[in-house]
Symmetry: C2
């Protein structure tokens, strides 16, 4: 079977690490089913100054459909650690917990919970792997894409950014969900047809070098393609870029109104220099409307550099570096137990500690600009806008957790990003430009939990 | 629908860039259906000195089942560029070409075709995106995993390497195919249950910090877990690592033969120092059989460093840095037209040129060690072992292209990797240690193709 190894409802419960299932069996055997609180958050940022939360929709889909099919149970029965009575119990397993989350598209910062899961401990534990997988990946890509979109519009000009990453993303799920995440962060279109179908995204594309090479000459290729697609974008760098531009000009003079090529694409060489020369040639030929698109190894830094150098580029096709978030291909996400059976919990390791108990994140504004986030305990009164909403109650979505059109998520992201200090959104921002602080009540809870833990350990050692 | 956006037979033809379909329509309108040759190869390596080819099986599955379902055609009908007659033609579309490929698990080098597709140009063009996606990703991960396995065994000791990457891979396809690729490259097991089911891989796992924290004390957690899993691996660093080790020793003294804990896992701190101290404690307690496993931010460099420092570690759990190939998350792969209608083709751009026409790669040996690869024309006689096999003929798999058990692919990889000079397999290898040369006949074809292209361009300009 060709695609048998893909995620599907009948085996989706197996999208987990083995130890989640062995721990689940242990909790079941020990009758440990008190509510646990798990937080999903990012520990530290590197080369990022804000994140764009993404992937919650897939996390909720997973939780609301989580169950062990016969196929899944048959497989687990072949694995040594599992006993028959546990597998019988698994057959009726479902997720019955509550979930609190920051809406997709919201900018977030380290230590802030993107998601809090409150559920019988085994259920909350089992959710870890899939939630981390989808939210880490989509937040990684949305955050990278946001930087690229910001770079393309740093001077206030509205330039097009298209996702061309599909060929080098990490598999098919990455291609589709990555296009979704990049769209949330503000890109305009994707080349990925499957993502276009799955999420109703604008799809786009130009032509490949191979098309030009397969024809007897470049001009023949341009003529054939633009006859079929009169408003297309022609790729001009297969042999000699400026020669290619001149052929486009000749073609448009030759065909008159029939062909209104929308643009040319540059994919190699010194893009700033070639864009300038191409612009001059086109303008001199009275073709000021013909746009210039650039592609080839682009990211926020190369785009900022091109625009700094005054390159007259109207749109960017961004591939591998966005689709793999090449400079930081993963975020330092964690999913940590912060409470069990009504008691806050935490790890002590200084590098890997976490904030105990349920929490709320409150964003504070000055003159419409977000200036500070306060991480507070769940129920205290704090000035500002709370970010976490209850999106699932007793295993069912709440109204706040209902699926939203991707266009609405994208608008939410744009509005929330616009509230951030603009200096924070530049590729070279200083992360010190935004404060994230703990409330006094949360500080106190951290100290109390640490003290209680020290007492337990002293008692154990005695 | 929860997993509607996943790759499946009914929409798999949409796993492509839009321009492949617009070019396909153009070729159809222009009656261009002569055989084309496309090569899939890697241009340049960075921080890698050899690659492990991987992903061919998924490429062949895609090609042999490639078709446009009603759902796919319905979607394309909503997209502007496509005309009804073309969509009717697509309804009967199938891949009818030949495919030549290097067997999965074979070490390969830059410029060597991993795959050559020979098919009517539109078919070969349409295959580009999916083939690049799967082969780039799986080869990226197999190559990274191979470096990690080599580092873990650099001194000839056989240490365990397990894949713990699922939580931060780029989505679900990356998690499953990544585990497949890493297994081909020689890892021993994965934590990913879905991959275990899909590919019959050994699955493994220990316990999480949350399990320890949810119990009233660390020792209670150890007691409960090892009672259920007497040969388990206990995670000792939740509060204080050496304290944790002492509790494991106490537990084993207390339970006698009932509990034979297989090992302990260290996940934070100075792993070399902690491994040494833990080893001493265990040995002094007569527990020389209890193994020490390490995890937490590992890759080939940190593993080599730990072993250099004499850390007595028996196995490594490697996560994000292997699962995302964090230092090089993509390879510089290309899929280039090298022939059309019987004539060799190439691009001229010096950075992006390709080798024209069909080819063969021949590996030459001295005393059982591979010392040189010759990239030759497809039919010349060259001493050595040819790497490319015909795996598909007229759209059907040949015997050489039949699906192979993953264990056989893994053995092939191990045998072929063993033939490489050992210095090339060290993390700090010098890529100059291996030669890849063109045969005289191929050199001549390059020169002839370049000359012919120059003539065409001169004629066009005149």
């Amino acid at each position: 079977m060709p695609f048998d190894d893909q995620l599907r409802p009948d085996t989706s419960a197996l999208y987990t690490d083995l130890y989640q299932l062995t721990m689940l069996q242990a909790y079941w055997r020990e009758d440990m089913d008190e509510p646990a609180v798990f937080d999903l958050f990012v520990r530290r940022l590197k080369d990022r100054h804000y994140l764009v939360a993404c992937g919650l929709e897939q996390a909720l889909e997973f939780l609301e459909t989580l169950s062990f099919s016969e196929a899944a149970l048959d497989y687990l029965a072949t694995q040594d650690p599992f006993e028959p009575a546990f597998l019988d119990w698994l057959a009726d397993f479902e997720f019955t917990g509550d979930v609190y989350a920051v809406p997709e598209g919201t900018p977030v910062f380290p230590d802030e919970p993107l998601v809090e899961v409150v559920a019988p401990i085994g259920e909350a534990q089992l959710a870890e792997t899939f939630l981390l997988n989808q939210i880490t990946f989509q937040t990684t890509i949305a955050s990278k894409a946001s930087r690229i979109v910001e770079a393309a519009q740093l001077d206030g000009e509205d330039r097009i950014v298209a996702d061309f990453g599909m060929r080098r993303t990490h598999g098919t799920d990455a291609a589709v969900k990555g296009a979704r995440a990049a769209y949330v962060a503000g890109i305009d279109a994707t080349s990925n047809v499957a993502a276009g179908q799955a999420y109703d995204l604008p799809v786009t594309g130009t032509m490949a070098h191979s098309y030009v090479e397969a024809h007897d000459s470049e001009v023949e290729a341009f003529r054939a393609f633009s006859a079929l697609y009169p408003e297309t974008i022609l790729l001009v760098d297969t042999y000699d870029t400026l020669d290619g531009v001149r052929k486009v000009i000749d073609l448009m003079n030759e065909t008159g109104d029939e062909v209104q090529v929308r643009g040319i694409r540059l994919d190699s060489g010194d893009l700033a220099e070639l864009a300038r020369s191409s612009r001059t040639l086109l303008d001199e030929a009275g073709l000021a409307d013909v746009m210039i698109f650039a592609s080839g190894g682009l990211d926020e830094h190369t785009i900022a550099d091109l625009l700094d150098r005054g390159a007259p580029i109207d749109g960017f096709g961004v591939g591998t570096r966005m689709g793999t978030s090449a400079d930081q291909p993963a975020l330092d996400t964690a999913y940590k137990l912060s409470g069990y059976a009504g008691t806050p919990r935490m790890k002590l390791a200084p590098e890997k500690s976490n904030l105990p108990g349920r929490k709320q994140v409150v964003r504070q504004y000055e003159d419409g600009t977000a200036v500070r986030d306060v991480i507070a305990t769940e129920d205290e009164q704090t000035n500002g806008a709370p970010l976490l909403e209850r999106v699932m109650a007793d295993g069912k979505r709440t109204e706040a957790g209902a699926p939203r059109p991707l266009s609405a998520i994208r608008e939410h992201a744009a509005a929330r990003l616009d509230e951030l200090p603009s200096r924070l959104r530049a590729p070279t921002a200083n992360p010190e430009d935004y404060d994230v602080v703990l409330s006094d009540a949360l500080e106190k809870r951290v100290a109390d939990t640490r003290d209680a833990l020290a007492e337990t350990m002293a008692a154990e050692a005695a």
